[in-house]
Assembly symmetry: C3
Homo-oligomer: 210 residues x 3
């Protein structure tokens, strides 16, 4: 794994650990161990799923101690800070957007490194980006947020497609990675600020009307 990929992954792990821990504090009555566990599962879940699917086992999470340390530190920091914050909705969403953007790029890039095709790399990048949040929501007994509100998948696919395009044209590097992640983050943040949703399903729409 290149130093660039590793650095982006670790930043992604860190912000997802903050996101998962703060979400757990906000929506459920867990104990300290539970809160930090949810934070770590959010931070590491997407990457572990990706690594299992591409056959990179044991996952990087378990062979490189920095992942576990960064996830643990992030979880404990959010736990310590969480008690002083009242309404965490917006910062949590922005942290989640940052994590999603970084993992979209690293997930796609790692899948390409393992020889998968462009389409598969986009799917795996998307799973890496949204997988941790889905694990978090299943553990907290929520329908995964990604399935019902906000623009998640569209920004991720944009970031992932940019990564693939840069890679196929030999332009992938720090610059391209930053552009891809920034584009994903911008779209996601715009979605948060404007409260954009993906088109609702007709059944849901009719339920809302009734």
């Amino acid at each position: 794994m290149t130093p660039l990929l590793l650095a982006l992954e670790l930043v992604g792990v860190f912000v997802f650990a903050l996101d998962g821990t703060l979400t757990a504090l906000r929506v459920a009555r867990l104990d300290l161990v539970g809160v930090v566990t949810v934070g770590m599962a959010t931070a590491l879940g997407g990457g572990v799923v990706r690594d299992i699917l591409i056959g990179a086992v044991p996952p990087a999470t378990f062979t490189d101690w920095r992942y576990l340390v960064v996830a643990t530190v992030g979880g404990l920091m959010a736990y310590a800070v969480g008690r002083h914050l009242e309404r965490l909705s917006l910062p949590i969403s922005l942290l989640d957007a940052a994590g999603v953007s970084l993992f979209a790029v690293t997930g796609t890039s790692k899948a390409l490194d393992f020889g998968l095709g462009a389409g598969q790399a986009i799917i795996l990048g998307t799973m890496t980006a949204v997988g941790g949040g889905m694990v978090r929501d299943v553990l907290l007994r929520r329908i995964p947020v990604v399935l019902h509100s906000g623009l998640f998948v569209i920004p991720v696919v944009v970031g992932s497609v940019i990564t693939v395009a840069a890679s196929l044209t030999g332009l992938y590097g720090l610059g391209a990675a930053v552009v891809a992640a920034a584009m994903c983050f911008s779209l996601r943040a715009l979605g948060i600020l404007l409260e954009l949703d993906a088109p609702r399903s007709p059944a849901a729409t009719s339920l809302l009307i009734l």
Copy 2:
């Protein structure tokens, strides 16, 4: 993988994508991305779990583009049609029965191809058949249907045992696969039409009486 196995798998993926998408439309308020994601997870979940367990990574889903295309098309078709249907319970159940039957046969057959024993192949065939539906239900925050109502596992085991028997006696081929899937489907459909359940647990029974 033989062309027969591939063809059965793709038909199974298609009907499960319809099933998962229609179920998501019916029971939850998701957006377009969420509905199609649940459909794809239903269609691909069982096979991915099986492939991870037998060590066939990356799973066929991610190395053969036809899986993703068929699942996506199925999901989008069901989404487009779903708005015109009011009561989808019976057709969903029959689609689910068809998917379960096809995956019971392909899951068992693939496990045998990878050198697992007869008993393990039956277990893996069963997991392939019911795995997608369990993923669907967990994402929709429901207790998996397979655990509490209807005849699911018994028909699947019958189809899986027929597959193993045909394979051990050297008779496995299109004919045997069709017989195994048809037998599974018939039992499952009979269960749906007659509203048969597996025996209830005594605790549940006493709860119903009280």
Copy 3:
């Protein structure tokens, strides 16, 4: 795998099958197949996750018939006995404590055998120990117990650290395994009897006060 590891694993599988089945009988309305499926998933889930993560696929569960037989027998026994028991809370908790203790030791030990470092082995041992219970709770649509009450993770980490220490100093064997499991079990049982919890999160605390 050594005979010692195998024996401890099978005992762990058995008590977890009892635990999962009795829990399913107690908290949900499942049918016979569902109850036994939850029992088997509880018994086998942690080990399957560990084996996938360390690259030991197909997991031992699917290559050694004894795992499936022991899990099935445990599930059916608990199902048969369950109808005669009214309040199963304490025995279920103690069975769960026994399973957790055995899997903490075997999970850690197997991870070390596969060449993982001490820290990673402790994490994987912990996942093996609590993984089955988390699968059980997700299937029963509960927030995993390990996240919100009781002392689970601390005893498991103690047992796992003892296992690592014994292994690094060349002292690992039946004696060390029993000591590690017994220490974990004692702490867990003490937690159950004294109703100790890990520290609650501040948000949860304030919710309780309000």
